[in-house]
Amino acid sequence: MTSLKKIARRSFLIGSAAIVGGVAFGVYKIRETPPNPLKPGTGQAVLNPYVLIDGNGVSIITPRAEMGQGVHTTLAALVAEELDIDMADITTRHGPPAQAYFNQAVLASALPFKEYAMSDFQHDLAGAIGQAGKLLSVQITGGSTSVVDAYEKMRHAGASAREALKLAAAARLGIAPDRLRTESGHVIAPDGTRISYVDLAPEAAQFDPPQVALRPRSAWKQLGRSVPRVDMVEKSTGTATFGIDIRVPGMKFAALRLNPYLGGAMRGFDAGAAKTMPGVEAVYDLGDGIAVVARNTWLAMQAADAVQVDWGPSPHPASMAAIDAALDRAFDAGANSTMRDDGDAETLPAGATEITAEYRLPYLAHATMEPMNATALYEDNSLTVWAGNQSPIVLQKKCAKIAGLSPDAVTVHTTLLGGGFGRRGEVDYAQYTTRLAVQMKGTPVQLTWSREQDMTHDFYRPGAVARFRGAVKDGKAVLLDGQIATQSTTVQAGGRMLGLPMGGPDKALVEGAFDQPYRIPNYRIRGYVADLDLPVGFWRSVGASYNGFLHDSFIDELAHAAGRDPLEFRLDMMRDEDPHSAATLEAVRDMSGWTGKTPDGVGRGVAYTWSFGTPVAEVIEVLDENGTIRIANAWIAADVGVALDPAIIQAQMESALIYGLSAAVHGQITFENGAAEQQNFPDYDALRLHNTPRIETRILQNKPHISGIGEPGTPPSKPALANALFDLTGKRARTLPLAGQFPLLT
């Protein structure tokens, strides 16, 4: 642990960058157990931070944001498996902001290692460093880490609760606990006496929860199989409560209007006309925007549009040409990182054929189906906020500051999220609502963003430019030298969310490129930070969302330059470097019946990316149908190590692929005078049912460690499509989106 202490004292790794100045603490501090945030009410028993039992039954706290990825179901199943209770007999809840729910895995994933090559020792080290999350109160849902983080600790929570219940039953029955067994929410005595957990809970809460060994995987009854999602009935009947559905007695509806010139000030406004509009009650100054309170949200939105506002200019570049130039200039400064530098990338190997390519990718919006919103009630010494969010402790702290309260005076209710994709890791929507609520003391208010406000005030996936140089010889890649320039999401979003200065090598610039399991003798990946400060944030798969396309597209170009089948070309370089990754490629080869040859009118592309611990290979098939190109079929293979719920994993793989293809086909945010030009879905469309391919997914479990599923399907989807289009048309897409370049079915 010496190396951990050294890292901890000197510089504290998070979000792939070191915090400048460092945070001094000892390991003992991060080993302390945070207090249990659940305070039992009358008739309730709290067995640990994850298990609450009252007269209504057993509740499992699933403290990660349910934004569609099925996390409440799988986290609850981890507890239920050891607790011996049927999934049908539990309820789940998000729980409060609390250090007890820190995300250890999200910090561990920030280490600048090539994950595929991590030793068991490095895995242990990463876990230990992740303990620092407690100190930073990182209760974040992101980075495909929820299940990795919960895999052991939530099973332990179930096991220790079960053992405490057995101790309570043993005391009541006057027999030894080891003569008792548990099943379906009951402790069962040798004579068949059954005592329900609900009955035993108050007594069980008196015992120190015993720590026992976890059951082996071979004994699992609920994990490892597809269980009905806990949120499925409510989401199919319109009875699920999202943030926008919160209804509090006396609540007012409000609409938001912010400066379209991002980062610009509000010099003044005239609400005279707006205040006379039907149903309007008041107009409030929120600093860099206004809110209108009205009888309903639509009347508020109409009046918000009618307010005359004098907007200050944006500090950002005036045109896309200027933004592109700033990205290009990043290469002139020194590299931020060289996270891979194998062999000699400077020298062209003798007899090799050199190729170069430059790629350029756009900014992207998250475009969650549920627009940003939050509801808040400010009273004398308290604030209550209702919001679908991915980081409740950050939300609590930021809103407390606005309200002039201590964080513990702020109650946060995390609702279901109508999509997250990283957007709701930010908390701006809750901050604006709080700014409004403090001006409406005693009255709850819901502030809803119009789709236009949402799309033009995102924290965007940054645009990126890449310059790749490579060489092939005798059918093999002998050189790959990649340079990627983009904005640093880590510095901007990490600083914004955690309030800490970030610096050092930024893994997000190069993840999805430097950490790919290819054996190429001369192989270098460098990251560059562009001098731009447009608002950027974490977008499903973060750095791999651009690097997956950049790196794999160039691998495909090398394959063609080498005159090789692109799938076999990848496999040859991968087999010795990471057999698990090679198995994903072999799986899609077999599933798709890949022959390396396609008839006229058919194009096939393959792509592969390792991201968030999960290697994913995808094959996409496009068809030319009377001059219109349709994305007809897709095959996905992913190795998740341990598959806890195959149906949910399959859904996430399909979802991640479609999210990536939507961006590849349609996604582009452009800025004019610092204002986003795309306003709504007609300008920023996505795949729909008629142009979504048929998808077949295979889940592999060869890797030794469990890994996440929410994001890794996204990175390879874009290059797989572009590579398929190349196969069909002979035209190589080096920019996205594709809809303007190819006659795709839209």
Binding site: S236, N296, L416, L687, R688, H690
Partner: protein, 153 residues
């Protein structure tokens, strides 16, 4: 003068400006929050309801233009008594974030009422106005086919 709206078989009297879209009457006035706001410009389908059995974008129907009885997701079925489509949605585990699903199901219900055994192409045509950012489309298609079989019996 207050407008009378028949929603899921219940008549409501609503006193609002004529141009308030039905979506916001349902959500903010009547508390029927199952119908969602997604875009406000008929581009996503999250607000889909039925008027006299026809699927419409409630963000585009002014209060004064409502021409018949309205069915929202709450009126199609309940957790205790689900419509065949809702049963199929649960069976196929369709929803992810779930925000668009009310609109998807209401749109699909109008399709099945008009066409009890739709082909894939007919499903494509009927459903392409309904956006899902989670990408639940493959399961939506499977659930519609399955519900069609259930209804046919």
């Amino acid at each position: 003068m207050p407008a009378l709206l028949n929603v899921n078989g219940t008549t409501h009297s609503v006193d609002l400006p004529d141009d308030v879209p039905l979506l916001w009457v349902l959500r903010d006035e009547l508390g029927l929050t199952g119908t969602k706001y997604g875009c406000g410009v008929a581009a996503c389908g999250a607000c889909t309801v039925q008027i006299d059995g026809e699927a419409v974008r409630s963000c585009q129907v002014a209060l004064s233009d409502v021409w018949g009885g309205i069915t929202t997701i709450e009126g199609l079925g309940t957790p205790a008594q689900m419509h065949a489509l809702q049963t199929a949605w649960v069976k196929h585990q369709v929803a992810q974030c779930g925000y668009c699903q009310s609109g998807q199901i209401i749109q699909a219900a109008a399709l099945l009422a008009a066409n009890p055994a739709p082909s894939d192409t007919e499903i494509d045509e009927a459903m392409q106005g309904n956006l899902c950012r989670c990408g639940t489309y493959p399961r939506i298609r499977a659930a519609i086919h399955d519900a069609a079989k259930m209804i046919e019996g």
